[in-house]
Symmetry: none
Subunit: 90 residues, 2 copies
DNA sequence: GGAAATTTGTTCGTATGTATA
DNA sequence: TTATACATACGAACAAATTTC
């Protein structure tokens, strides 16, 4: 996922995990992944985005930190309903 | 870990990975990390010492070369009992 | 109940790019 | 120019929780 890409000034390139996090966030916002639903498994995202599991995990952690999802070991990550999300988390 | 630090005559400053290796060796010697025990993960050392993973890995490799520890992929690095260590490895 | 598959969690292995001395 | 050091990213193996058959 554009690991190399064009040469940007240092610190300007969009990191892979940010790209992934942004895409998943977009899908949550537009209802592709509705509240209460389970997100695709990490390895599914790996296959879809063609990136590493580490990048997917960082992206998921980002969304977790924003309060958009919760993750349960052995089960998956679940979209939190908007009312359970922190106010300033868009 | 003192990447910048005071100015030494060229080639005199103690390298980061050497500092880390010395510190871990000290802890093995004083029993902080006893025989058979698992060392903290690389990323834990990164957090504690505030250096890069590369420097930690170099340090760990140094101890491996000295015969103080063995490393198993996916599991960690383990302190070898003194009797399994080479004679001249202090 | 039990074994296998699924899924997240953890850890080491490797490659590459950038900055600096 | 070379060696050190940091950061990002991908790969692989193992561990633990859960689900499925």
């Amino acid at each position: 996922m554009e690991r190399d890409g064009p040469r940007f000034p240092p610190g300007t390139r969009k990191l892979v995990y940010v790209q992934v996090a942004d895409e998943i966030a977009k899908r949550i916002k537009d209802g592709t992944y509705p509240p209460e639903s389970r997100l695709p498994a990490e390895l599914e995202f790996v296959a879809e985005f063609g990136c590493s599991r580490e990048s997917v995990r960082r992206a998921v952690q980002e969304l977790r930190d924003r309060g958009w999802i919760e993750t349960i070991k052995g089960k998956g990550s679940f979209v939190l309903p908007p009312e359970e999300r922190p106010a300033r988390s868009s």
